[in-house]
Structure formats: structure tokens, C-alpha cells
């Protein structure tokens, strides 16, 4: 469970993680040039985040954004389910598992769709057209939902 949860928690909020991990490491280097560089990075951590966000908003096509919103929604649903499970307990464990793994599985499948349809990855997937990727996505999701509905009893 642990690994999955970590992966989960990381995904939604890049800026927080960045600043969180960068602060402890920055004081370490002693060499002049290195310090100045890292200081620069440290100072601009927030700026970098903002710039990233701007860049993302500008550069990402509409369709990708749509997919990202869906993925963010899945993450929220998954986290909610998990929090509920932690608070209330996992008595019908199969119900929790099927609900939770439905979100995880759907998230992963959607991420795959996003990767495959991304124009930048054209070289990697020359044999898969976006339409084919979408058909695969539908196929995978149907199987996933069949198993989840079967498992939830």
C-alpha cells in the first residue's frame, strides 16, 4: 500500500514538493559557483513554479488539459476514498479495494492515453495513432470496470 499512496500523494501538487525538497539541500554545497547557482534556484523556486504553471497553461493543448483535469479529479476521488477508509475502517475490504483500484486503474489508463496521444511522443509510439490509443483506452477501461463491478459484490 505504501508505495502506491506515495505515488498518489505526489501527483497533484508539484510546487509544494519542489520547494519542500529543495530547501534542505541548498545549504550543503560550499563551492562558490555552486552556492550561487543553488541560491538562484532557491530564490526562484516559487518563480519557477509559477513559470511552470504559465508554461503549462500556454503550451498544453486543450485536449491534454481536459485529460489532466480528469486525472486530477480521479486523484481527488482516490484520496477521498482513502481518507474515508482510514477514518472509518476497511470493513468491506473488497468494496474499498474495488473502489480505490478503480480510481487508480483509471488514472493509470488515462495517463497512458495522455502519453500515447501526446504529440511529443510521436517517435516512441509510431505504430499507435491517437484513434487507436483511444480505442485501447476504451478497451482497458471496460475490462477495468467489469472487474471492479464484479469485485465489489
Amino acid at each position: 500500500m505504501a508505495a502506491k499512496r506515495n505515488a498518489r500523494d505526489v501527483t497533484p501538487s508539484p510546487p509544494i514538493n519542489k520547494s519542500g525538497t529543495s530547501t534542505p539541500t541548498t545549504p550543503a554545497p560550499v563551492v562558490k559557483s555552486a552556492t550561487s547557482k543553488s541560491k538562484d534556484a532557491n530564490l526562484s523556486a516559487q518563480e519557477v513554479a509559477v513559470a511552470m504553471w504559465d508554461n503549462y497553461v500556454k503550451a498544453t493543448p486543450q485536449r491534454m488539459k481536459l485529460i489532466d483535469v480528469f486525472m486530477a479529479f480521479l486523484v481527488v476521488v482516490g484520496v477521498l476514498q482513502f481518507v474515508y477508509c482510514v477514518i472509518v475502517g476497511n470493513y468491506p475490504f473488497n468494496a474499498f479495494l474495488s473502489g480505490f483500484s478503480a480510481t487508480v486503474g483509471q488514472f493509470v489508463l488515462t495517463a497512458s492515453l495522455r502519453i500515447q496521444t501526446n504529440a511529443e511522443n510521436k517517435a516512441e509510439f509510431e505504430s499507435i495513432s491517437p484513434e487507436r490509443a483511444f480505442a485501447d483506452y476504451v478497451f482497458g477501461s471496460l475490462i477495468l470496470h467489469f472487474f471492479c463491478v464484479n469485485f465489489i459484490n
Binding site: 500500500m1 505504501a2 508505495a3 502506491k4 506515495n6 505515488a7 498518489r8 505526489v10 501527483t11 508539484p14 514538493n17 519542489k18 525538497t21 529543495s22 539541500t25 547557482k37 543553488s38 534556484a41 519557477v48 511552470m52 508554461n55 503549462y56 475490504f93 473488497n94 479495494l97 474495488s98 483500484s101 487508480v104 486503474g105 493509470v108 489508463l109 495517463a111 497512458s112 492515453l113 502519453i115 500515447q116 511529443e120 511522443n121 516512441e124 509510439f125 505504430s127 499507435i128 487507436r132 490509443a133 480505442a135 485501447d136 483506452y137 478497451f139 482497458g140 475490462i143 477495468l144 472487474f147 471492479c148 464484479n150 469485485f151
Partner: protein, 750 residues
């Protein structure tokens, strides 16, 4: 050889069709060879189920066919593990039974009503044909040469390592599992090559099927993550890896959890944690790659990399913590004994007592794989030369499988596919090299060039002459044909070896014992079925049979009577109870048998015939297993002579002579021989002159060659005496002049 040469002369537009046709014909021939080489036992003996485990599978299949799928799913079997029963639907892998049930109904729908027994007997040969085809597909993904796939298919079709578990009549889980194993790997390779979610999903579906068929699915569950992990460590992470693995894991885990026997294991047990860990790791790496694409700073990348390592180690630590604290179940004993090979012998005698769980000896590798085992390392080396994603898979698979097959005999089965594949890759490379007839230049010309070159350059250039010549190689027909001829010879010898091994070693049903008479004619010893048939016809429908667990499935399948323990050794204590009853004296075992409502006791005795797999030879395991639970009452030491020998003749210890097993085995055995010459042919020992006396049970049936002996448990004595006292009274052992002395009295408590 047609396979390899076809390429050289059948080129062009028409050649493609011819090649396709040839390919089809060859594959069909291979499938036919695979099926027909497994039929020795059916032709020699008859179409019956062999061994022990398949009898339960057969019984379950009959139940499925008779009662339908839903009843089978919820089947509570009250005819095994007598007082307890067995929730069969939740404790078996249903894939095998459902497959043959489906075939049965399909054939019936085609108006070909075939008896379910014949489907069960011939399922394994049928699926071996499919395995050959799957191996063909798998190897084609690995190798660019067209002949490798066909070679691998024929190797897989007739290699004895696989035949040993899939002859006709061996209706075991492995019958379909190896096909599913190879086909799942084929789909996985396909998925990772294309980065396609579709192939990943198909791989997950077949993985689910594999989970429903065989407990060895854990091998896949660990091999695929290991492959991905190695790829990541080599710096070969790509979005194809992400797509294929995540699709496979998300769908495959859900699919595997649908099987009741597996249930929540993929979340809870340690064997499945590597898959989960790699899944988490891939999420992390995918996220980092995503962020890296947006940020150019180099420093930032190192930070991120550190972040990945940190989270990975934290997750690993959490996993270890959870395992230690018991939230995640640790390794099961059966699985753990693969790592710590001494574990089973010390802690769980029941695992060590199975002969298949012993380490493999060197000759077994050669016996099962013949020339393939020589080509195997060369094939792995070839994979290293051209290290693409799928070649890494072959390397990982071969290393892992060779380790496991060295630890346990039965895991030779998982090694066989990869040995066939790599050997075929090597052989096809050799044939490809030496069968191509084109030489770069005509001989005379090259000689002239060489001469010219040597004239000019001898003073200036040093080194060997052949090194200077750019056209290094073997181009004469003679040397090429020598190499090809040698390879052909090896291949022919391989076929001979496979046929010989299959015919002599792996095609004997253990239910029927065959022996040769001096004149060469065959004599069949059919005591097992004789005795089981007697039980079936002459006992009550619900008479409980107590025997050692080896025979539980056969009694349930052939005699159709409830048993106390059987080959599904899920309750060690219950088996130990039977072991205690067998290894204790009558006074101790009679109450045990009464408590468990035992009606008949069945022992296997090979002393008359020299049949070594009998219960006296297994007796020490019964003692050990019983000692594990009741160390005070059963002691292994008591069964050995003071010099530490395990004897059954007059030197045998009193504990041995008084044990129920000894008495049942040798009861009335003296009567077969002239006085003083009773001989046990297995142990090669002379038996004492006075045979054992049985008080609380009586002989009910002994088969023709004394292999199976069945005893009936007597009812309680009518006047409430002990059985020993009653029997000695019957025999008139009472002294004529009984002293009128009164024994020590006790108060009557009413």
C-alpha cells in the same frame, strides 16, 4: 532444415505465399508431433488419469459438468477431510476444470458428445500443441531470423522437461499453465515493444487466466516487475514501459483478485509486493519525467532524482516495516523454502516429504533437455550481444528460472520454455550463418586481390595475413556443409533422445504397475484399482477411509468414499493426527480412529512384490509429522534400533513392532511363506517368525499382490472390555487356574 533454407531460395512476391504455406504446414506438423509423442501411455495401457493430484481435478471436473458452474463455485465438499470438509470453491484454482468443462460443452454443442474422462485425459496433449504455437510467437518477437520461432516450437513440442508434466492422462494444473505462461510472456513482450495498452490489457487478461489455473502464477508476478526494474536501472525507462506495465498491473491485479483462492493476497502477501513496488516506482519516474520536460534547469533534475531515490527508499522501508509488523503476510513456507533451502526440512516436514521438492541433480538437466542445455548459455550470451528490451527479458527470465530449477525438481518446468527459446535462437543463428550460399566475391578474384595486396603491403603492414584481408569468413561449401551436417545430426539425435525418454521414463501411469515377465511379455499389476473397486462396491456409501494423505485423492476419485486426509495438505494437524494413529500402538490409535469415525484403514504394502513406494518406507515421515505436533507421545528415536538403524526384522524396536502401521503391513504375512522364511523384498529383510497380532481392527481385504491392505475398525466390545482383553479372552490366553486374587480396586463413581 527446410526451415532455414526456405529463406534463401524462396524470395520474391510469390515466395511470400509459399513461405506462409510452409510455415503453416510446419506448425501443424509440430503440433501433431507434440500431441502424438504424449500418447504412449494411452496406447500402451488405457485412457485413464495418472498420478494422485489429477484424480481430484478429475473429480472436480465431473462435479462441474454434472452440476453446473455456480454449484461448482460454491462447492462444499463433505467427502474429504472427514470431520472438517473442504470449501472446494475457495481452495482450488478453477481454471483447469472450467477449461475442460467448456471444451466438453463446446463439443456437445457440435454434436460430438465425448466422455468427460477422455477430455480430461487428452487435455494436456492438446494444450501442448498450443504451447508449441505460443513458443513460436514468443520467439518470433525475440529474434529476427525466421527460423528461430519454428525451431523453438519444435523444441518446446518434444522437450522431455515439459512432456514429463503433460503426457496424456496427467490432468494437472501444469497441463494448461505452461501454455498460459508462455502466451502471457508473449503478450507482455508485444506490449512492451509497442507500448500498447491493448496488448497490455490482453496480457492482463491472460495473466488472470493463468492465476485461475496454477499457483505458479507468482513466477509471472515477480518476473515482469523484475524485468521492468532492470530496465529502469539500465536507464531504459521509456513511456512504452510505463504504458505497458501500468496497464498490465492495474488490470492484472484486479483480474487475479477475482479468484477466490487468491482473494486479497495480491495486496497482503510478500510475494506480490515487488509488483506493487515497481508500480509505485514507475508512477514516480513518470511524474519526474513529466516535470523534467517542463523545466530545463540541470540542478533541478538532480534534485528530482534525489527525490525519487528518497521516496523509493522510504517506500521500501515502509514495506519492510509493514511486513515485520505483520500487516503484510510474510512469505509462505512453500515459497520461502526456495530461498532458504534448508528451511523446509527443519520446520515443515510435510513440504520436505514431497519428492518433487528436492534439489535437482546435474544429470536431470541433461536428461530433460539434452542438447538444449548446452545451447542455453550460448543463447543467453547472444541476447547480451544485442540488448534490446525484450532480450533483457530473456536474460532475466533465464537467470531466475535456472536458479529455481536448481533448487526444486518440479520447477524444471518453468525453465524449459526459456531454454527452448534461447537454444532455438542460437541454432537459428548458426544455421543462418552456414546455410547462406552467397559468398562475397568469386574465389579467383579474391585470391588475385589478396596476392596483389600482399605484394604491395607486406613490407609496410605487419600482422596476420588473414587479418589484412577484409573478407574473413568461411565460404567453401564443404566446411559449411560440415557444420550444417553436424547440427542436423545433433537435431536428429535430440529427437531420438526425446522419444526415448518420453517412452521409457515419463509414460507410465502410477495407478497401474507394469512389470516384465522373463519371456519379455508384459504383466500388469492392477492392485490399486482392484482394492478401490472393492471399497466402492462392498462398503457403505459413507464409510470413512483412513489412509496416509498420498492416497486421499485416489480414494476419493476411484473408490468414491470419504477420506480423512488427502493430497491437498492444508491442515497439518489433521495429517499429524493420522500420522499419530498410524505410528502409535493399537491402544492409542483405536480411540483416535473412533473419534474420527473411521470405518476402514487402508495401507499400501510392497513387501511381497518389491514395490518400494509403500507405507513402511513413508512411515518415518508420518512419525516426523506426528512428532511435530505431539513431541511427547511420538518420538522418532524410538523407531530406530540402538545403533540408529531403521529395521523391520527381529531387531526392530518394540515401538516399531507395536505401531499400527507395522502390524497392519505384516499381519498374516508369515502365512505366505514356509515357516521361518518370511521375507520382505523391499527392505530385503527376514521377518520374525511370529507375526503381529491385531486386536482392535480386522482384515477386510487384501489385494492380489498384497499391495493394498484394507482393515475394518471393530466396533466397541459388547460387554465393555478393552479390545486387547477381549481378544486375549477369545484366544483362550486366560490361565486355567486363575488365581482368585483381587486386583486393586477403585471406587465406583456413578
Amino acid at each position: 532444415m527446410t526451415v532455414a533454407t526456405e529463406n534463401s531460395y524462396l524470395t520474391g512476391a510469390k515466395g511470400r505465399n509459399t513461405r506462409g504455406l510452409l510455415r503453416l504446414v510446419i506448425l501443424c506438423t509440430i503440433a501433431a508431433a507434440a500431441v502424438s509423442s504424449r500418447l504412449f501411455s494411452v496406447i500402451r495401457f488405457e485412457s485413464i488419469i495418472h498420478e494422485f493430484d489429477p484424480w481430484f481435478n478429475f473429480r472436480a471436473t465431473k462435479y462441474l459438468v454434472a452440476n453446473g458452474f455456480y454449484d461448482f463455485w460454491d462447492w462444499f465438499d463433505d467427502r474429504t477431510w472427514h470431520p472438517l470438509g473442504r470449501v472446494t470453491g475457495g481452495t482450488l484454482y478453477p481454471g483447469l476444470m472450467v477449461t475442460s468443462g467448456a471444451i466438453y460443452h463446446a463439443l456437445k454443442a457440435l454434436t460430438l458428445p465425448v466422455d468427460i474422462r477422455n477430455i480430461c485425459v487428452l487435455l494436456a496433449p492438446g494444450f501442448s500443441g498450443l504451447t508449441a504455437f505460443a513458443t513460436y510467437l514468443f520467439t518470433n518477437e525475440m529474434s529476427s531470423t525466421p527460423s528461430a520461432g519454428l525451431l523453438a516450437a519444435i523444441f518446446m513440442g518434444i522437450a522431455p522437461g515439459y512432456i514429463s508434466r503433460s503426457v496424456a492422462g496427467s490432468y494437472d494444473n501444469e497441463a494448461i499453465a505452461i501454455f498460459l505462461l508462455v502466451f502471457t510472456f508473449y503478450l507482455w513482450i508485444k506490449a512492451i515493444k509497442l507500448g500498447s495498452a491493448f496488448w497490455g490489457a490482453l496480457c492482463a487478461l491472460f495473466y488472470g487466466y493463468m492465476v485461475s489455473a496454477w499457483g505458479g502464477y507468482v513466477f509471472i508476478t515477480n518476473l515482469i516487475p523484475l524485468h521492468v526494474f532492470v530496465l529502469v536501472c539500465m536507464g531504459r525507462f521509456s513511456s512504452r514501459v510505463y504504458v505497458s506495465y501500468c496497464t498490465w498491473y492495474a488490470l492484472g491485479t484486479l483480474a487475479s483478485m477475482q479468484i477466490p483462492f487468491v482473494g486479497f493476497l495480491p495486496i497482503r502477501s510478500s510475494e506480490h509486493m515487488s509488483a506493487l513496488g515497481v508500480f509505485g516506482l514507475l508512477q514516480l519516474i513518470g511524474f519526474v519525467e513529466f516535470v523534467r520536460a517542463g523545466v530545463p534547469s540541470k540542478q533541478f533534475q538532480t534534485l528530482l532524482r534525489g527525490f525519487v531515490v528518497l521516496v523509493f527508499s522510504v517506500a521500501l522501508g515502509g514495506l519492510v516495516l509493514l511486513t515485520v509488523s505483520g500487516v503484510i503476510a510474510p512469505w509462505t513456507g512453500r515459497f520461502y523454502s526456495l530461498w532458504d533451502t534448508g528451511y523446509a526440512k527443519i520446520h515443515i516436514p510435510i513440504i520436505a516429504s514431497v519428492s518433487e521438492h528436492q534439489p535437482t541433480a546435474w544429470p536431470a538437466f541433461f536428461f530433460d533437455l539434452n542438447l538444449l542445455i548446452w545451447l542455453f548459455p550460448a543463447g543467453v550470451y547472444l541476447c547480451f550481444l544485442k540488448l534490446t528490451d525484450e532480450q533483457v527479458f530473456v536474460v532475466v527470465y533465464s537467470i531466475l528460472a535456472s536458479y529455481f530449477s536448481g533448487v526444486m525438481v518440479r520447477l524444471m518446468l518453468t525453465l524449459t520454455p526459456i531454454v527452448c527459446v534461447t537454444a532455438a535462437m542460437v541454432l537459428s543463428t548458426i544455421l543462418e550463418t552456414y546455410l547462406s550460399m552467397k559468398s562475397p566475391k568469386s574465389d579467383a578474384e579474391s585470391v588475385a586481390i589478396e596476392a596483389a595486396a600482399s605484394k604491395k603491403n607486406v613490407p609496410t603492414k605487419g600482422g596476420l595475413r588473414s587479418m589484412r584481408n577484409p573478407l574473413v569468413g568461411i565460404y567453401t561449401v564443404a566446411s559449411k556443409s560440415t557444420v550444417v551436417g553436424a547440427m542436423t545430426l545433433y537435431l536428429l539425435v535430440f529427437v531420438l533422445h526425446c522419444t526415448w525418454v518420453t517412452s521409457n521414463a515419463y509414460s507410465s501411469p502410477s495407478v497401474v504397475l507394469a512389470s516384465k515377465l522373463p519371456d519379455g511379455s508384459q504383466h500388469i499389476i492392477d492392485d490399486y484399482r482392484e482394492a478401490y473397486q472393492w471399497l466402492r462396491q462392498n462398503t457403505k456409501e459413507d464409510a470413512k477411509i483412513m489412509s496416509w494423505w498420498d492416497y486421499g485423492y485416489q480414494i476419493g476419485g476411484m473408490a468414491d468414499r470419504p477420506t480423512l486426509v488427502d493430497n491437498n495438505t492444508w491442515n497439518n494437524t489433521h495429517i499429524a493426527t493420522v500420522g499419530k494413529a498410524m505410528s502409535s500402538s493399537e491402544e492409542v490409535s483405536y480411540p483416535i480412529m473412533r473419534q474420527h469415525e473411521v470405518d476402514y484403514v487402508l495401507v499400501v504394502f510392497g513387501g511381497l512384490l518389491g514395490y518400494s513406494g509403500d507405507d513402511i518406507n513413508k512411515f518415518l515421515w508420518m512419525v516426523r509429522i506426528a512428532e511435530g505436533i505431539w513431541p511427547d507421545e511420538v518420538k522418532e528415536r524410538d523407531f530406530f534400533t540402538p545403533r540408529g538403524e531403521y529395521k523391520i526384522d527381529h531387531e526392530a524396536t518394540d515401538t516399531m513392532k507395536n505401531s499400527l502401521m507395522y502390524k497392519m503391513s505384516y499381519y498374516n504375512y508369515n502365512g505366505l511363506f514356509p515357516p521361518g522364511q518370511a521375507q520382505d523384498r523391499v527392505r530385503g529383510a527376514k521377518l520374525p517368525d511370529v507375526g503381529p497380532v491385531l486386536n482392535s481392527i480386522e482384515e477386510a481385504y487384501t489385494s492380489e499382490n498384497w499391495i493394498i491392505r484394507i482393515y475394518k475398525v471393530k466396533d466397541l466390545d459388547n460387554v465393555g472390555r478393552e479390545h486387547g482383553a477381549a481378544a486375549s479372552f477369545e484366544r483362550g490366553n486366560k490361565k486355567k487356574k486363575a488365581a482368585k486374587k483381587r486386583g486393586p480396586k477403585v471406587l465406583r463413581v456413578e
